[in-house]
Chain length 187, copies 2
Amino acid sequence: MARKKQYIEQEVLEKAMSLFWRNGYENTSVRMLEKEMGINQFSIYASFGSKQGVFLESINTYKKKIHSITHKLEKTQNGVAGIKQYFYDFLEFSEENNVCKGCLITNTVNELGQNADPMLMTELTKFANDIKQLFKKNLKQDSKKDMETIESESNYLMTSILGISVASKIFNKKQLEDAIETAFKNL
Amino acid sequence: MARKKQYIEQEVLEKAMSLFWRNGYENTSVRMLEKEMGINQFSIYASFGSKQGVFLESINTYKKKIHSITHKLEKTQNGVAGIKQYFYDFLEFSEENNVCKGCLITNTVNELGQNADPMLMTELTKFANDIKQLFKKNLKQDSKKDMETIESESNYLMTSILGISVASKIFNKKQLEDAIETAFKNL
DNA sequence: CACAATACTAAGCAATTGCTTAGCTTAATA
DNA sequence: TATTAAGCTAAGCAATTGCTTAGTATTGTG
């Protein structure tokens, strides 16, 4: 009985995600979203309710996108080597047109910090924690580390990947590889 | 012959810096600066020219403030141990009311990225490079590392401190200590 | 005291923000 | 083919943005 949507929500979300990823939440206006997504503001609000709504769905889209490499990590059986590979995979993942955008989740945590909507913040820290659990799983595969060591090293790995995410915006490839190689020397 | 300023520029800059540090550049409006600095917009523009001008001076104020710990690092003769101490000093430095604000420079790089004013970006990367040089200096004190190793390890240390800076916003003290302790095990 | 140079107050500027709405097209069903 | 529920266009909303300006207050000097 009714007219059909002239866009596919997942498709325009990909574009919205890309824009948020490049510019951050506050530096992305609804007008910019209009242009990037190629649809009118009315359609944006009809589909996603608010700018925050678009952002939340963009986060979900990001999660799906990064799932290819988190899934790979989830399936590895080779301990620390698998985690190291994840670091390299992440770098490749975050690169676009030779420009590193870091991690959308990390960027957002860093931008909004404690000013962020609590629900959003919960969502973001949950993601971070899931990654940490994957690190732990792989660390356990590596022989005789005790619980305490595994906890410490997973915290270390989390700050390392956060560091890589930020550094990727100003460091060149060689410097990032230096960082990764050295980071894994003592694990 | 003329009326006197009713505020001290360095004093109001301290307050501006604190606000930018907490909220980032874009999330800080001139009205917010007015309130925090306790002076009228006219005075802000008379003293600093623009919002960006206030920010640039805030960065300088930040540098002066952090100089107490970079200076300490500059003077240390105890190699890696001195760098590790710097990490702990930084954590203490970035804490305010039990809330970690990270590093103003790192936050800004992360927020503005390649969208930033080139002059500002140059300023920020220069600061990062100065820290890296201090790391190198201390690494050289530690015996028989070759040039290549020192370069690699200084890149590693830079990403580590960046990671600590970001992680400090979501990790608790124990987790951050885990990260630092593990980070220095292989140096 | 009067002058002149600067600072302060507060109102107001155009532009942009997130969001809404009135009026139209579109398309599947009866 | 007429109806009707939904989507689209584009104009417009109040609030906020960075910044300016007109008018007034304060000061040291002649």
